[in-house]
Each structure stands twice: as C-alpha cells, then as structure tokens.
C-alpha cells in the first residue's frame, strides 16, 4: 500500500472502499482516499434519491472519473435521509476532500448493530495491503 493514503482511525470501512461515520444513530458515507486516488479526477456523480429504502449492498450512487465508472453501495440497510447535492456541481470534492466535504449521503440505519460488522481502520488497512 502506498504511504500517502489517508485512513482515518475514527471511521469504519467497507471492502468496496466506502467510509462510514456514525452520527446520532445515523451514518454518513463517502468514498475513501484510496478510492478517489484510484478513480483519479471525478467528473460526474449520480446521487442517491432522498427517501430511498436501501438494502445492504444495493448500488446507491455512481461516480464517473476520466478513467472509469464505479458504483457506491449501501453499507447497511436503511433509508437515505440526506444527500450531498453540492456534488452535482462540484464532483471534484470527492478528490479534494473525500472524508469531509465530499461525503455522499446520510442513511438512517434500520438495525444499528450492522455498524459493528463494518471494517475498522486496521482491518481496512490490511485489506488494502493484500
């Protein structure tokens, strides 16, 4: 793994390179620094729709870069209660600020125990090393 990939200790992760942050029983999600480096310059994002009921693993968004297109999957079961509409006009926020301004959506969890199934920072680091 390259040394210049940021992995935040206080976040959880998926094997599909999404990060998950718990906030008042809801989760905020986005794509990791590793994912944005792999994608290179993001030019378009298809946001999830507000109010969508999602199952874990469902495709809830698409990120298109100059290089490829990638799907963003729901890390848990739940409902989409907030989306980052700034990404419509400013998709490069994914590249510039993957963990802060480049967040994708907030999901209300159906079962909060699912959060514990996600990878922690060490496990995600190990996954990237493979």
């Amino acid at each position: 793994m390259a040394d210049n990939i940021e992995i935040r200790e206080d976040l959880r992760y998926t094997t599909n390179d999404e990060w998950v942050k718990i906030e008042n029983g809801n989760i905020r999600i986005g794509i990791t620094d590793h994912a944005q480096q792999q994608l290179t310059d993001v030019v378009f994002v298809e946001l999830p729709k507000l109010g969508t009921i999602v199952k874990r693993g469902d495709v809830i968004g698409q990120v298109e870069s100059v290089k490829t297109v990638a799907s963003i999957n729901a890390p848990v079961n739940g409902e989409v209660i907030e989306v980052n509409e700034r990404l419509d006009d400013l998709p490069h926020l994914f590249n510039e600020s993957p963990y802060d301004e480049g967040w994708l959506a907030v999901i209300k969890m159906k079962d909060s125990s699912e959060y514990d199934d996600l990878l922690d920072a060490d496990e995600y680091r190990k996954k990237l090393d493979e």
Binding site: D41, V43, F44, E64, T68
Partner: protein, 506 residues
C-alpha cells in the same frame, strides 16, 4: 524519433469570417407565412475554399488507421481496404433513395439479403436484421427482442446478468431496455465464475450477456456449460459480437449456444469506425426469435425481393433499413475474403496478438497467465510503483512515436491496464517496432514520459474540462461564446472602473 504531427493555429469555423450567419435568399412574394420564415441559418458565411482549407488542416492534425498503427484494444481498429470505399461510392449506392419502389432497388435489396445470409452463416444464427446503426444500438435491439420474447410467454423476467469484464455498453443497453443488471465476478483464471453464475441465476433471469473471447482476450471454455445453466432456468444468451474477430471459421456463437447477438461491422468486417458517423450493428437471432426482429424484413419470393412486416416485430429501430453504404463495404469485404479468408483473418489476428504479447511479457506483467486470443491485457502497475510511470503516461508517450495508444484502464479488474489489439492487418515489422518502443519507454526518464506527448498537434488535453463542459453543437457553442463575451465585457467594465478609481477621472 522522426514523427511530427501537423500543428496549425486553427480557429473554430464558427469564429471564422466576419459576415455572420448564412442569409437565406428567400423570395419576398413567397407563400410561406412570415411567422414560419427564417432569415438566416446557424451556419457561418464562408467561402468554399475557406471551408475546405479549414477541414484539410484539421484532418492533418488528426490520427487515423491510414496514418499508422492503432492497437486500441476491444475496438478492432483494422485497416479499411480501399476497394470497399470504391464500391460504396458507385452511383448504384449513392444515387438511390430509400423511398424508391421495391422493383427499382432489387439489386440493393439482394445485396442486403445476401449480406444477412452471409452473417448468418458466419455466426451460426438463423436470421439477421441489418437495421441497428451501431454496436450498442444492436445490443439495445437484442435486449428489446429478449424482452418481447419473455413477455410473449407471459413471464416477468427483470434481470440481465453481466460479468465484470463486460463492455460498459452491455449493462447500459440492458438498463436502457428496462432490465436490472446483475454483475458477476471473474474467477482467478480471468473467466466467468460458474458458481457465481449459478448463484445469480433465478426465475427472474431474462438473459446472460457475454462476449467470447472475453475482454481479457481469454476464451470462455465453459461456454456450453454456461449456456446450459442459463437455458435450464428459462433465460436466453446474448452474444456481444465485439470479439467475433477472434473466432471466425473456428467456432461461432450459434454452436456456443447463444440465442441473440450483434455484429460490429466496423470491427470484424473492416468498415470505417464512425467517430460518431454512420455505423452498423446488425442483430442475429435463432429461429424461434425471428418474428421479433425489427421491421421491415427483406424476403425473397419467386425471384423478387420484398420488404415485409411481421406483427410480432419489435418495430423499427432506425429510419429505413440501416446505413446502406456501410453494409455495402461489409458485403464487399466478406465476398473478397470468402470463408477461407475469414478464417485466416481470425487466425492471423490471434497470431499477431500472441506474438506481440510474448514480446512485451515478462517486461510488462500479465495478469491471468492464459493463452490469449485476438487481444491481451498487460499491467503497468510495477512500472508505476517503481518509476511512477502509469498506463496513461505510456499511452501518451506512444503518440510521440506515431503510434496510437492502446485502450487504458479497461477492463477495470486489472490495475494500470493496457489493452492491446494489433489486428490481423499489421505486419511483423510494425509489431516489432511497437514492441521496441513499448520497452524503451519503460527505461525513459519518468519526467520526460509524464509530460509527453511533445510531437503531436496538441499536448495533454484537459479531460476533466472536456468531460464536464462538452460542447458538440453550434447552438451550444454560440451560447457558450456569448456567455464568455459577457464575462469578458463585465471584466472590462470592472477593469475600467478600477482604473478610473486609480486615476481619479470621472
């Protein structure tokens, strides 16, 4: 290094001249009501020689298969022979009209009828429609046929299974036709994982979309087993004909068990790649699906050709009968090659690919160490880690040597992928030259490579800007230029105000 591409300071044609748009010389006493009359066209008013010089200069800043080697993987950029251009320029091709009566265009109908029969023989399909105007259009048509078939049986099948190595158009075409896409992973050999396929199959499965050999250039040797799995569940098999160039005369989609397919005439049958222009993506089906083919069909009765309409047809997918001049080229190519020749085409495409592959590997890494067919995928991952030279950098540097770049970053399961398809039309000397350049780039100064190309009409282009601010029409451009002018004027006003402030003048 001796390659130099022309470089002119060319203005956009819309910005040339100062006489505005073309004015329409309509007579005043014309009967067209004034509210329906236009006074000008959205075309700049230029002399003929200004237009000709403009486009000639632009063409010299371009690069095509007539300029040099073009190993763009998956696209099959084989040389387009000039005899096909000559035949498609005959007045019997250029001076007919699609609204002519059947009896006036019997020769054209015969040509299309025979092309259908040839494509059926090559593919092992039973019936063909020449209507779709491109490969992806053919995929979409095929998906509509599959949908109509299941609906005719009263079955609601909503899912189309696509492997992760599929061409991006496959899931897109399935989605456009209203299906849900289910992606399945490849196994460690770079082929479809049979257990993943079995797990994905259900009574909801409408079809499996597959290209064989796949996009890694690997033949899906379990194809008969896969067909059985899909058919046993009531689903159909769709063949993406993009890679047909690898197997002609050796095997065909029909014997592999496919039910529906499209052909890319611009790949396998050497017609020009449109670049947005006219193409052709005929669709082939097994007999049980024939009634669903787009209408009209060309039929032969008592020695006369007719255009006929089947009630079960999915209808028209394009105006008239397809891009006729493209069909003429493919017909000429097939007749010129003959069945033995087409077999040689595929054999040589596979030979060229494996020859080139063996010159580049092991200097470059090749994931999935299997025999390749007509194309192969290598990885620049090690070079990126060791010398910071990426697949994109290599592809840009190749342009400096007068070679088109391979396809990069596809398929996406290979990191730093370079997908190379030399095609059968290239000589061993060209393949050797390309291999030498690929190997020498590995040892070049990384800064030199990362800032390339140098010898081309344009250097690295701003891909982000191009993707986000795509301007393809004159109207859109005019709006854009208008906006720019407004911004400039505001800027000038602001500057003037500032300078006024500075000098204190009123």
């Amino acid at each position: 290094m001796s390659y130099r591409q022309a470089r002119y300071d060319v203005e956009l044609i819309q910005k040339m001249g100062d006489k505005g748009d073309v004015i329409l010389p309509l007579p005043e006493d014309d009967e067209i009501p004034s509210e329906l009359r236009r006074t000008s066209l959205d075309i700049p008013n230029l002399r003929e020689n200004e237009v000709v010089r403009h486009y000639t200069n632009l063409s010299q800043m371009n690069f095509g298969i007539d300029n040099g080697f073009y190993p763009l993987g998956s696209c099959t950029m084989k040389y387009n022979p000039k005899y096909a251009d000559i035949l498609s320029s005959l007045p019997t091709v250029t001076d007919i009209h699609p609204c002519q009566d059947e009896e006036g265009v019997q020769g054209s109908l015969q040509l299309m009828y025979e092309l259908e029969k040839s494509l059926a023989a090559i593919s092992g399909m039973d019936a063909i429609s020449l209507q779709p105007a491109a490969g992806a259009h053919g995929e979409f048509t095929g998906m509509l046929i599959i949908k109509a078939y299941h609906e005719g049986l009263g079955e609601l099948r909503k899912e189309v299974i696509v492997p992760d190595t599929a061409h991006g158009t496959n899931p897109a075409s399935a989605a456009m036709a209203g299906f849900e896409v289910v992606e399945i992973p490849s196994n460690e050999d770079g082929r479809v994982d049979l257990s993943a396929l079995e797990a994905a199959i259900s009574p909801r499965t409408a079809a499996l979309m597959l290209t064989n050999p796949n996009t890694l250039g690997i033949f899906e040797k379990d194809i008969v087993k896969m067909a059985e799995i899909v058919h046993d569940a009531g689903g159909l098999l769709y063949y993406d004909g993009a890679n047909l160039n690898a197997v002609m005369g050796r095997t065909n989609p029909g014997v592999m068990g496919f039910d529906v397919m499209h052909f890319n005439l611009h790949k396998t049958f050497a017609t020009p790649h449109g670049g947005g222009g006219p193409g052709a993506g005929p669709v082939g089906v097994k007999a049980f699906l024939e009634p669903f083919l787009p209408a009209p069909r060309i039929t032969l009765k008592n020695g006369t050709y007719h255009l006929t309409y089947d009630a079960k047809s999915i209808g028209k997918v394009r105006s008239f009968y397809g891009n006729f001049a493209v069909l003429v080229r493919a017909y000429a190519y097939i007749l010129k090659c003959g069945s033995d020749g087409l077999k040689k085409v595929s054999d040589k495409a596979v030979l060229n690919s494996n020859y080139l592959c063996n010159k580049l590997v092991p200097s470059y890494d090749m994931p999935f160490k299997k025999l390749r067919k007509h194309e192969f995928v290598i990885s620049a991952k090690r070079l990126k880690e060791e010398r910071d030279i990426t697949a994109m950098d290599i592809s840009k540097r190749l342009l400096d040597y007068g070679m088109m770049a391979p396809t990069v970053y596809f398929p996406s399961l290979v990191e730093e992928a370079l997908m190379i398809e030399p095609t059968e039309t290239e000589s061993i000397e060209t393949l050797d030259q390309f291999a030498d350049i690929m190997l020498s780039i590995m040892a070049e100064d990384p800064d030199l490579v990362k800032n390339s190309p140098y010898n081309t009409s344009v250097r690295r282009v701003d891909e982000v800007h191009a993707a986000r601010e795509l301007i393809l029409s004159y109207l859109r451009l005019k709006r854009h230029l208008g906006d720019m002018q407004e911004i400039e004027e505001k800027h000038d006003v602001a500057n003037n105000l500032m300078s006024d402030d500075y000098t204190g003048t009123e």
